[in-house]
Symmetry: C5
Subunit: 328 residues, 5 copies
């Protein structure tokens, strides 16, 4: 489905193109840096066909654009530069990262963006650029820059959110009273999966950005390179954050395992202490439950209270002994 | 054993070659891009001998083709390009990856495919290509492309199936009631072995594909390079999936270990709570089982019911105490 | 906020510049290597604006300078060399590394330093350089050197402090009586986080320093290269220290986990030994508590003391048995 | 000690050389590709001296040849190419890899092989080559090839044997009834040591073989390169196998650890179930052992059998309860 | 402090230099490859000053030489080649590696060695070289070679000693009766620290040696290169040994952890078996301790011995049951 389609002249939105082929020829002929931007969402092969032929997109890139589940990458074809990125959104409630996909073709006087999934980045970026004619006036490459910038900035935001979640997890795991709940290992594992998803989006994007910074792809002007450098720099931070999260989660899992062991030992000591405090009076009671004829204590009037007192004393003594040793 | 053998002209199956030597000379002389495709399955040295000499295959590559257990690789010999790949199939019932082997020789006007194991890919690809004269018309390199494409697509399918299995495993491990069964560690380990087998097939194939994309091997035309780029891209996804599975399985094993510890602690607490609830009335019974002459309670008519009531009260109190602390 | 601003001539502090633009023109025209050094702290966009335009700083670098949370990096812009470093301080009491940020622009006859956070390094370095005209006389690049040197030396100091903390942790973990406290895993984890923070500052700085050593950035003179080599060397040591700490902390956590297991086993044995020592006399008492009419021992005058003696003997025997086996 | 020494002409064993110096001069002068092959076993410095001087071997290589414990490597000296490899044998009974060492000098018209340890590869290869004049006729480089081929093929055989051992270990560890024996961790560790020994032999050999394949060392002819490529390919498989074994052993150890935890929990539950089944009748017996004067049940003729029945019922109930919950 | 200082002519010790400056000029002028070797130990800045100025050492290298805690490295300065190595000694009794430091300047006709710590290598090497005029006659570079060779050979010796210690540790950990002592984890950790110290000395030295082998530093002659190749080879072995030790120690720690778990399970079973053997007769005694009026057994003359026999039978039965199941 074509979501939006417009001709931009001097960085300002002009008319909606009627026939793409005519519009393209006209843009290329014009002297005011005009270009067409076609935005599509999960197009069918039929919908895509026209765009493909008008703009001369490469069949392989078109095939990639029709199917989701592509890796982030950049490919140079005759007549167009094809880029795939994975915009991410973070569903805080479910602590789950959602990946969508965005394919961008830029060429002489045209941009085609194809979106798979629910990412609002193409629409947001178009809106923002339409209020910034200075940037938009630089042409298709500025659109690519703005899209990559928006996607990578979203990565940094998600990295921050994950960081906050990590801190909550840390508090939960290392709280003096907690840390041995059944679900914690599952939470950490699920967190690791999200981080893996995160890195799956950020990691492979490094190589395309390095090529944009190095300027080894077409359609770049000299003055746009520093902008891509900034994006590359942000991506490096996102990658670093993903890497750090991954390591810390491994560490937290290892620490949690140790804590479970310590907790178990603590519980075992506590349980044993109470068991000992029951065993001693039981033993005493057992002794005075023996049926010997000649047990002088049994006849004494003070026998019973004395034994009860002995029991209480023994239990009290054990209680403080264990208390002092930290078993209780 | 020669499974199938045919001459292709302009991308269409023509006659079955009689004498290979004559047919090859004729193909090379013809102006219609004709080529011979010989498909073999676990050939004996004798069966292979004729093909070898007619097509001028290198003895070392022939030796490799006769024995299975080769690594995926690509080697350039005078007169032919030799490629080894490991097609995989996934036996879902046994959760086991089966590897077969496929050797491909391409040269001027000929393709020889040698299959070890039960992979149906050579037959499927031949069938598919015979319905696609446009592709097949590009000659031997198109056959190589189609085979690699089919093999790598199968990798992606298997990666998806493994992903599904992983999710089932996750549910099993992190289910609130489960997760401490004896067999889980064995299942995870066996899964890791399958992933290793998977990576053993996908990993070493990167280098041959990189060479095909870079165009540093013979028999490639300029227009076939983008196609190999797509295959390389899919392989990169397969490799990434294998890598991700491997990490997640390590994480799942670590999480499972932690869970076993937590489960053990939970069980220990539950057991101890019940033990305490038995120990207290046992102690009380012991006390009133003592044989002191002067134990006034023993003579009271309400003594026995009172003690029973005390026991019930103590047990009830402990029950709620442990309940509140989450030990039961 | 502009913290300090001065013109330096022949390595000595001269007047405070009135108008930056005039001062810069004058410095560039002068023959005495004069340069302006403007030091700012968390400047607002407005405060920064003037500096930006006078010195011709690149808008992207300026944007980076206004926001904290940059990665250490070095970028070459027309007219200036932009460097970001992360000075660290170590709060020993809270065992926490605090990172601030320092951006340095050097260009022809000017230095601009921008500080985020509480690092006192820019002020200290300015003070030190003002007493060392020989170094300061080399111009802006000497300021960059001096700042990097101070930052990296602080890394080495922090590495030493972390080393000391590690040794304290080792003593705590491997003390014969200790090692199973609840908090240790949390302490190790928190230590790992600090080391990660440390490496986040030191790691990405390697690349800028390698470029300074290789001399592939502008504003370097041949004789300043060896100085950057020293800084790079110190940074390599800091990186190595961070790496070593990270590994040792992983090892310590693994060793701690093992120790928790050993400790638990020791405790279990000790508890069991005491339980056995209570169970045996309880059993004996149970036997003589049976109500058989014909139990000859019960009638003997020595029966009761003999059984008591038997109990004591059994317990004593068990005590020494367990002692000898190391269970007590 | 010189084990064997012969002159080979046209790939066939000719006379045993009398004086090495004369023989070498004669071989070099002859037109029939004659060369001398001297095979030594743990030579003393004296024994080696003559060979050294006659063949002009480099003192450093000679020093290396006299001492065992060299790393696999290849060094080019004036007049000779020096190669060190570590042939391995596998003692299946003791599950132990034995490493020996083999040094090979090749030069113009001579081969010197020096063996440390009990490897039979030099003798086997000489025997095999003497029956294969076609290969041997290619001269010294063919001997080097044949030796490397034999050594690397032995690596592959050992890798297969280790694979079989791994499968036995897997069965042992993951058997439903087993897996918690005391010795298993030790067996896995010892296996890892063998794999390390294996990799110590195979790993460093990659670099010499890469140089042989690239043809950057002297004494190679163009037609021998593909042969070394085969050896390099086999070595890559051996390296891959070693790597895979190493990972799987780490995984098996981790899985084993988890299983020990699961087993412990199972045992704990089983033990606790039986303990509960003893505690309940003990408590009942305790209650009816109390000495209250007014316990009406005690006087009933059905009291005793009723209580016994109660005990049996309680135990039976608990038994089935625990059975149903999987604790027994 | 200057430890030793001499002029060497034709590889033989000649006079002790009076004035360094004159001596140096004279050496340089002489035709007999004369050179001065000054050996210092922890020199003060003052002591070093004279050497610095006479030999034209670079101030940064001098600064490095005055402070210990340098990383192994090699730097080329105008007029001298500066090398830092970390000689190691192994204190077997305390199982601790001691690192000292050695700085070497070589230049035209001079060598300056600076030692920090107690390493006896400079003195030993000087002594050895003074008896080997052939080597010493090659001048300053021969001294550098001899020092590096001695340092690296000491690494190999230490690697052997660590290997022996590892084997002792293995025996201790995997002994059937041992392996669960409290201290073992601490011993393994401390061993890992030593290995880290070892690798800190050997690892960074690879790069300087690679440069010496490649011949990209001054003062090397063509014939000295093979010697440095030998040293580089030995260093590679030391690095490999360090790497192997590190891995094996990680493995041993993991195996030890598993063993602790197995041991704990074994102990738990044994304890439980004994507890069961006490619980059964206690239960029986409890039953016959009940006060029912109608318990016919109590009146039988054989009642008491029969119950005792029942108890003994039950315990004996359980004993053999547990024995057969391997719990005892």
């Amino acid at each position: 489905m074509i979501v939006d389609s417009a001709i931009y002249r001097k960085g300002r939105r002009a008319e909606t193109p009627g026939d793409l082929s005519d519009a393209l020829a006209q843009c290329r002929a014009s002297s005011d840096d005009a270009f067409i931007w076609v935005g599509m969402s999960e197009p069918t092969a039929e919908e895509f066909d026209q765009v493909t032929s008008e703009f001369g997109l490469h069949p392989l890139a078109v095939e990639d654009s029709l199917k989701a589940h592509q890796r982030p990458k950049m490919e140079v074809y005759t007549g167009s530069l094809f880029t795939v990125v994975r915009p991410l959104t973070y569903d805080d409630a479910r602590a789950r990262i959602e990946a969508s996909e965005l394919m961008v073709f830029i060429g002489e006087s045209f941009v085609v963006t194809v979106r798979h999934g629910s990412s609002r980045i193409p629409a947001q970026v178009r809106g923002r650029l339409e209020h910034d004619p200075k940037v938009l006036g630089r042409g298709p490459v500025a659109v690519l820059y703005a899209l990559l910038d928006a996607v990578v900035d979203a990565y940094l935001d998600i990295a921050s959110e994950l960081q906050v979640d990590l801190e909550e997890l840390e508090e939960k795991v290392f709280a003096p009273t907690g840390g041995a709940e059944t679900g914690v290992a599952g939470v950490i594992y699920s967190f690791k999966r999200q981080v893996l998803e995160f890195r799956r989006a950020t990691g492979p994007l490094s190589e395309p950005l390095a090529r944009l910074v190095a300027g080894t792809v077409p359609y770049l002007s000299h003055e746009t390179k520093p902008f891509f450098r900034v994006v590359a720099d942000h991506l490096a931070r996102a990658n670093e954050a993903g890497d750090g999260l991954d390591r810390l989660l491994s560490d937290i899992l290892a620490a949690h395992l140790t804590q479970v062991g310590v907790r178990q030992n603590d519980d075992m000591r506590k349980i044993s202490a109470w068991a000992a405090m029951a065993a001693v009076p039981t033993l005493i009671a057992g002794i005075y439950g023996m049926n010997f004829v000649h047990m002088p204590e049994l006849r004494q009037i003070w026998g019973y209270p004395a034994v009860l007192a002995l029991m209480v004393t023994a239990v009290t003594y054990l209680y403080f002994l264990f208390k002092r040793r930290g078993w209780l």
